[in-house]
Symmetry: none
Subunit: 243 residues, 2 copies
């Protein structure tokens, strides 16, 4: 692989509770050669405890803390949620880990990607999922029980580094960053409110739905710029009309 | 696979010290559909604590305890030692996990096999290794540091069950018809004209570009309906403003 694709993967733990799991995730990252750990709203005691663990110390010390998933993935072109159970997430394309890892690996050749892992107890929320382009599932024999967090991270990173197939990948245009997708989402939401499509008072679920919709489009960087320009102009007109 | 090959694999933990690791190993076995856990000379307190863990209770309750590796693998046709570091074991053939799992899987079709995992601190001793036919290694990027025991078990069992699955195509929702895409294109073009983004007199190439953009989005049938609804409302508002 060119320079270091592994440095362009962010492992994002959302609301982890258990210091041992944070430590185990960091250790697996070290084992498989990854470094960028991000933590969103950790249970603070857990995060402090994990940081004090000896083994993965440098990696954990460099871990970045965020207060929202949106911020944690803002610089990522591809955002993938992980799940080991199979209900609920019907709005998202679901890929099993093998094919998912191939896509992520390809993306890391030239871009950045994030894999999100939910909390031990609740997994990823609908709001977390709305930031994801698609989901990966570790196919287990017991779909009624989720995997341990540290083990799920280890299995994903193992698959990601597993004998990369030499199969030449078709060249894909660079995808839009999460920040660009979010900008589009925000402008579209404003337009939808202005035009009366969304009622601002009851818009929370519309917001999630719209965010997911935009992520599903999987816009290229260039298309995202065009869409932004279109939205900006439409919004300007709508605001002019409203004033 | 015939009857149940997975029931013929024994996961053997040699001298484990940490109850959490024993519990995590049992949980991974449950996740991936294995059942036969064997423990050789565990640190007794750890084993008792692990047994009291709720999640993997039945599997742990059924775990068999042995006082020697020889006894623990007596009924196994193939005995494989695991390692994530690479020194010392030069007497044994060493296979990386992918090829190793293929051989073990084949053996389980008609026979029994054991995978040995050493203690957290010391790994497998030379005496333990003397019972092994060969060794498997999880190829990590950091050969100076061993993997966490529970994570190593999870990764091995994942690989063992990995190729057994049909390469399932992601469940993709039905795509929007060409007619729906065209309807979206027409409405978007109208909105872009209304808002001044496109000059109607010189719009031929914009029309092409917009049509191609919409096709690239590769909308699902359901998303197309949502987008149409959004556009209809925005257009209505723009027209109201213009009149």
């Amino acid at each position: 692989m060119p320079p270091n694709p592994r440095s362009r993967l962010r492992v994002v733990l959302v609301a982890p509770r258990n210091p041992l799991n944070i430590g185990a995730s960091a250790r697996a990252m070290y084992n498989f050669g990854f470094a960028a750990l991000r933590v969103v709203n950790p249970y603070e005691v857990a995060f402090r405890e994990a940081r004090s663990a000896v083994r993965a110390a440098p990696l954990l010390a460099a871990a970045e803390e965020f207060t929202s998933v949106g911020d944690a993935v803002a610089d990522c072109d591809l955002v993938v949620g992980s799940t080991s159970v199979g209900h609920r997430e019907l709005q998202h394309p679901l890929r099993s880990l093998g094919p998912a890892a191939r896509i992520i690996r390809r993306r890391l050749q030239s871009g950045t990607a994030a894999i999100l892992f939910g909390s031990e107890k609740f997994g990823l929320s609908n709001d977390d999922l709305s930031h994801c382009h698609w989901l990966l599932r570790i196919e287990t024999a017991a779909p009624d029980q989720s995997m341990n967090l540290g083990q799920a991270v280890a299995v994903c990173l193992y698959e990601l580094t597993r004998a990369a197939r030499p199969a030449a990948a078709p060249r894909e245009p660079k995808r839009a960053s999460a920040a660009a997708n979010e900008q589009i989402t925000v402008m579209l939401l404003e337009g939808l409110e202005r035009s009366g499509y969304i009622n601002p008072l009851t818009s929370a679920s519309s917001e999630d739905k719209t965010r997911r919709l935009i992520r599903r489009l999987n816009l290229s960087q260039r298309d995202a710029a065009v869409v932004l320009g279109m939205l900006r102009q439409i919004l300007w007109k709508l605001n002019e009309a409203g004033s």
